[in-house]
Symmetry: C2
Subunit: 200 residues, 2 copies
């Protein structure tokens, strides 16, 4: 590997830390930033700095926001009787896009993963428990975690932990994705779809 200039090397190293960005992509991005007009690169640098320093976790739902409480928690038109529990702030956007849910959220910022040394205290689960104690109006907890082994395990853990609280605890349905073809659906999804079949 030939060394570029020290400043360029540093930029490539920093860009390589981004998810899905390897050495080669980092080089391409770095050269792009240096070859394009100066404002473009500086605006990106400023946007990163301002977004990082200006946003923090909402003290209620732990969503990323530049106001506290976040726009969703402070929107009194939303149904305050249900909380949808998510793995990441990105998932919140996916649910909002579907327009099928009008309650509140709670972002865990991770899932329990013994292999990665992430226990219940490392995610925003203590915050959820405290919140349920402070907001007795909550009636339903919807676990919308990713259908991965860790997501499933975290969901079960939360369900067992909160069972004594007398809440209704639900999870998203598993089954066929809309517009998919039976032939292309994997065996696990198909067996879940059969198991969860509903009368018409």
């Amino acid at each position: 590997m030939v060394a570029f200039s020290p400043l360029l090397d540093k930029l490539i190293a920093e860009l390589s830390k981004l998810p899905g960005v390897g050495k080669k992509t980092a080089q391409r991005l770095a050269f792009h930033l240096l070859e394009r007009p100066e404002e473009e690169a500086l605006e990106l640098a400023t946007a990163i700095r301002e977004a990082r320093l200006g946003t923090s976790f909402c003290s209620e739902c732990c969503n990323l926001s530049d106001t506290d409480p976040c726009p969703i928690c402070s929107d009194f038109k939303r149904d305050r009787k249900s909380i949808c529990v998510l793995e990441s702030a990105r998932d919140l956007n996916a649910i909002e896009r579907s327009s099928a849910y009008h309650g509140l959220y709670h972002v865990l910022h991770g899932v329990i993963s013994p292999l990665k040394n992430i226990g219940p205290e490392e995610i925003k689960l203590p915050e959820l428990i405290q919140r349920l104690q402070e907001q007795p109006e909550v009636e339903e907890l919807i676990l919308a975690l990713n259908p991965s082994p860790e997501g499933e395990a975290t969901g079960l853990y939360i369900a067992r932990l909160l069972a004594p609280a007398g809440l209704k605890i639900t999870r998203l349905a598993s089954g066929l994705p809309a517009g998919g073809e039976l032939d292309f659906v994997d065996e696990l999804t198909l067996s879940q779809a059969i198991e969860g079949r509903r009368e018409i």
Copy 2:
């Protein structure tokens, strides 16, 4: 599309301007930057700013560098009789990695492309012509442009333009890539390899 916070929206918009980064990837990168430790995001912002403000084109070869002249132009062990003409600073790294060339470079920062409204004056071609006048010791010009239609056309243009100067003008060989299989090589490459066949 649900709006995130204004600062996050701005960050996503800036990241989307990077090459190969779409809306979805920009969101993933933005959330990564906001969820990881603060130093990581701020270091990237600083690296972008410093690299952009600290590097400029070498006044001789137009390569990106934080010194002027760049380390290659100021290295007196290099063969000053040949100049390798490149499309971008990234290509310079590729040639250096091969260790097969020890002369100087000239980075055009683009190729002539009438469709994109890029003429000979929009790339660093006037600088090359001026440089050849100031450096009469140059004997060979190696055109190492990408084997794309624009690259080929730019090479031909430069070759015709500089023909009266009495320089030796060469271009990189076309043919089979090392380690490739004949069966997977496209027709054009194969026909160029046959045309350029050499006696053993």
